[in-house]
Amino acid sequence: MSTHATTETLSAYLDRQLSAAQTREIEDHLADCPRCRRQFAGMRSVVASLRHLERMAPPPTLGGLVTRRVTLESARKGLLDRFESGLGLFERQSSILGLFGLIVALAVIMLLFAQALERQRNASIPVIFHDPTAARGESRELAGRVFRRESGVWVEAGLEAEPDRAVAADSRQWRALVAAHPELAELETLEEAVVLRVEDGVLRREALAAGTADPRGSGRPLGR
């Protein structure tokens, strides 16, 4: 060995970790190299000191303390497990409740949607009723909707400008309606109060009873 031994080699030699050849080589080197010999002696002295340090026994009370902490932790864990299992039951129950709630919510939404659709459908039906006895400008409530008597027919209050919702007599929409449904011309000569509804392309006529009849009730088709 021409150069000095490495610290790692000296340490491994001390622990008998070298092969037979390496051991022979380092022993030859140590015999010739005072510096490495000194380093090795110092290292061996350190290791000897370390190995002579007394191993201390744990305090006798330590075992009891460990047992107490382990017992406490086991009890706490037991409580926690019970709490978690309770929580699991609650979670299972809450998932069932959640599903039920979702179904109810969906049902409510569908109901509201159906009602909205129905309102929309009804609102889109022109409702006209004829009452030759009513005076011009008179108002009447019919199925929750307020109508005002115009020349010849009732027009839903507030919707005069919306031809799909109500039709005023002598208006362009009225004339278009009469053109599409010639039977409406009967209104000109009709003596009784009637309600006319256009539903599914069929104009229906109903008798108006004391101004409170529901114009959406079934009636016999007019004309066609």
């Binding site: 110092g42 350190v46 002579h52 744990p58 330590l62």
Partner: protein, 196 residues
Amino acid sequence: MNAAAENPAAFSSTPDLDLAVRHRYGDAAAFDEIYRQFAPMVYNLALRMAGSEVKAEDYTQEVFLRIHRHLGRFSGRSSLKTWIYRVALNHCRSRLSRRRYFFQPLAEEQDDAAGVQLVDGGRDPENLALARDAERQVGHALRELKPVFREAVILRDLEGLTYEEIAEVLKVRIGTVRSRIARGREQLRLTLESSS
């Protein structure tokens, strides 16, 4: 009823695994046995790592709590001894790094009980005092080492583990173990030579 149901340890093939399996099946005597067998080892490791008896007692309690929690997972791939050393060492590292981060340790905090007593009733009082002084210096120099070197030196020269066992505990290669032990010893030598 089969043999395994009658005796849970029938599954296991080594004494270490027997203890772990018995613990898993709720046999309190298994944990007591582990404590009796390994408490001195854990306590001394904690003492050397922390340099204080008070901390060593705390760490030992905490290490055994960890062992109690996780022993059920011990699979027997390593020996129970190296597994417990690993648990203990990781815990000491964690506690010491937390302390270093949040509280700068004071020199007076460290008592000199760790590694200062020599078992030698045959020496006269003067020689004994000199020996104790020398060992106090060794203990102090050990605490001054960088943690990676200190761990390797403690496991090798104080706990007497083989290189293979140290590699298993530290989860490093044998070459790394060899290097850390050598550098730790050399650093100790230089420190002690400069102080004498």
